[in-house]
């Protein structure tokens, strides 16, 4: 890539931040991302105040975070955050009839897709990595020295590293999926709902179908296993988690392929706002 291409991609990123992510429209995504931080802070404060009444260990706090990470971050926070961030990158422009300004600039449409995706990805990564890291840290902070010991000398730091990796991969994967949904579908909420149902049904799907999802590989990378509670647990089909050497490059490869197709489609796209 030459310097012009970098300058153009940087120009797209700057403009996207200016008009979308630094505007009031993006607030709900920030609230969504930072909500678990507030909950973890409350948990920490309540635990400090009522430590004697409900004592628990650092491992229970780590388990509580694992449940919160899977239930909130993966199934709700990052998922809906990525819908909000990525599906509007193109669809929002079409609805507001402003995409032609981009199409009239002398840049390869592939770089427009890359610029928009990177603008969204940087925002998603900053928000959700910060949120995951802070939530994890605050979840056991009230344990004082025991948590510090768990974090620095026990499995804590490694667990947080894995959670951050899963968060980043979730942003990369869901980001690519919702960017292309915004390119092709008039109402991205429809494919988003389909993807959400599919991802939530994942534990109950046969092994082969389980592997055709993002959540399966993300869960495979989580350091603490979260079991489905009874009575639903009887419906769960056992499948070996994907090893990291498959899950990480696999998710990156699929995301790259999705983006490549989005770039190819953008190259052929026309402006037809009345569509």
């Amino acid at each position: 890539m030459n310097r012009l291409w970098f300058a153009q991609i940087a120009g797209v990123i700057r403009l996207e931040w200016k008009k979308t992510f630094l505007s009031r429209r993006g607030w709900w995504v920030y609230l969504l991302a930072l909500a678990p931080v507030a909950i973890a802070l409350m948990h920490s404060l309540i635990s400090l105040r009522f430590a004697a009444r409900r004592p628990h260990t650092v491992f229970q706090d780590a388990q509580a975070f694992a449940v919160a990470f899977e239930a909130f971050f993966l199934h709700l926070g990052i998922f809906f955050g990525c819908i909000g961030i990525f599906s509007n990158l193109f669809r929002g422009e079409m609805l507001e009839k402003t995409l032609h300004y981009y199409f009239l600039t002398p840049m390869r449409r592939e770089f427009l897709v890359i610029g928009k995706y990177l603008a969204g990805l940087i925002v998603a990564l900053v928000l959700f990595l910060l949120s995951t890291g802070l939530t994890f840290w605050l979840m056991g902070r009230h344990q004082g020295a025991a948590w510090s010991d768990f974090f620095w000398h026990g499995p804590g730091l490694a667990q947080m590293g894995w959670y951050l990796l899963v968060t980043a991969l979730a942003c990369i994967g869901y980001g690519a999926v919702f960017l292309i949904a915004g390119l092709f579908v008039r109402n991205p909420m429809i494919p988003a709902a389909v993807v959400m149902v599919w991802e939530n049904l994942n534990p109950f799907l046969p092994s082969l179908l389980k592997q055709i999802s993002v959540i399966f590989y993300l869960k495979s990378l989580c350091p603490v296993t979260v079991d489905v509670p009874p009575p639903l647990s009887v419906l769960v089909t056992d499948t070996n988690p994907a090893p990291a050497w498959i899950a990480v490059p696999g998710l990156l490869l699929v995301s790259t392929l999705v983006l490549a197709y989005a770039a190819y489609s953008a190259r052929r796209a026309e402006i037809n706002y009345s569509e």
Binding site: L15, K19, H100, L104, T105, P106
Partner: protein, 314 residues
């Protein structure tokens, strides 16, 4: 391949079953070219095709030798002021121009200089730091124009650029078009304000129902309309006598004394023969002729003859 022309070679564009334009062949030279036609005639389709926003279903388009499906090249030579009254949210006028110049890969200093120049050209320097959303209709029209010219394009495509402008801004904008046209650029304008189109155009393209019904310099187009007698106004001292002589000729189908009594408005099927005969009459009689001028070789009249509708004739 001609690198000074915008060419359409047998271009058709369909929107599903709906015809946009059909079998269009054009070679547009530099200067001001006006696209004239009723709503739905294909003006915007033609503009969107030459700016690469849509693709032809069939045929070949070249803009100064560049194919419109090559945005990296086309974006450098074309500026388009589209009909959409929409802007990226949350930006000031300055940010709007500056941001899209940055996407072109220009450095900060060049963007700042070009932004300031474009704002000055459209008289929006004072409103540069205000959000575009707070602009009036006329200001939004001017900021779109500024965005289209900021990178100094060779080809300017302007879809109804005079809409919403007050008379002063309209006059200034028309002067700009004339300046660009005189500088050898292509200025393609669509407008429904026919008398203004008539005043500024070097050539016109008349469209109806997706077909080009006429193109070229307006006088040439008018002379091609054989089925409509030419209207000619003769200012003279004895219009009655002139009318009496003219009625003896077969090619004169109508003659009316001008309301001020010092002119004759006539319609003839053979303008060349009429001019020869007028010379003879002047030589043979004591008729004093002040002026002779065609009265319907303007866009309005041609539009009326070829397309119909609101175009008024004398």
């Amino acid at each position: 391949m001609n690198h000074r022309l915008i060419t359409f070679g047998d271009v058709s564009r369909f929107y599903g079953e709906v015809l946009g334009i059909n079998r269009v062949n054009l070679a547009i030279p530099p200067g001001i070219t006006s696209l004239v036609g009723p709503n739905g005639s294909g003006k915007t389709t033609l503009m969107n095709l030459m700016t690469g926003l849509i693709r032809p279903t069939r045929g070949d388009i070249r803009v100064l030798g560049v194919r419109p499906d090559d945005p990296e090249q086309l974006g450098r030579i074309v500026g388009y002021c589209a009909q959409f009254d929409a802007f990226p949210k949350g930006l000031t006028g300055y940010q709007f121009l500056h941001s899209f110049l940055r996407i072109r890969g220009m450095n900060e200093a060049e963007c700042a200089q070009r932004t300031a120049a474009a704002l000055q050209t459209v008289n929006l320097t004072g409103a540069a730091e205000r959000p575009v959303a707070a602009y009036s209709k006329g200001m939004r029209q001017r900021i779109k124009l500024a965005q289209a010219i900021a990178h100094d394009p060779q080809v300017l495509v302007l879809d109804e650029p005079l809409n919403g402008l007050d008379p002063m801004a309209r006059a200034e904008t028309i002067a700009l078009f004339q300046q660009w046209g005189a500088a050898g650029r292509h200025v393609i304008v669509s407008s429904h304000i026919l008398h203004e189109v008539d005043r500024i155009s070097d050539q016109v393209i008349l469209l109806s129902h997706g077909y080009v019904v006429a193109e070229g310099q307006i006088q040439g187009v008018r002379s091609e309309v054989k089925d409509q007698p030419m209207q000619i106004l003769v200012r003279c001292d004895h219009p009655n006598a002139l009318a009496a002589r003219l009625f003896l000729q077969n090619h004169v189908v109508e003659a009316k004394i001008h309301p001020d009594g010092r002119g004759l408005l006539l319609r003839t099927t053979d303008a060349d023969e009429f001019y020869l005969m007028l010379n003879r009459i002047v030589l043979e009689t004591d008729l004093t002729v002040e002026s002779v001028a065609p009265a319907d070789d303007d866009v309005n009249s041609v539009y009326q003859y070829l397309i119909g509708g609101e175009g008024g004739t004398v």
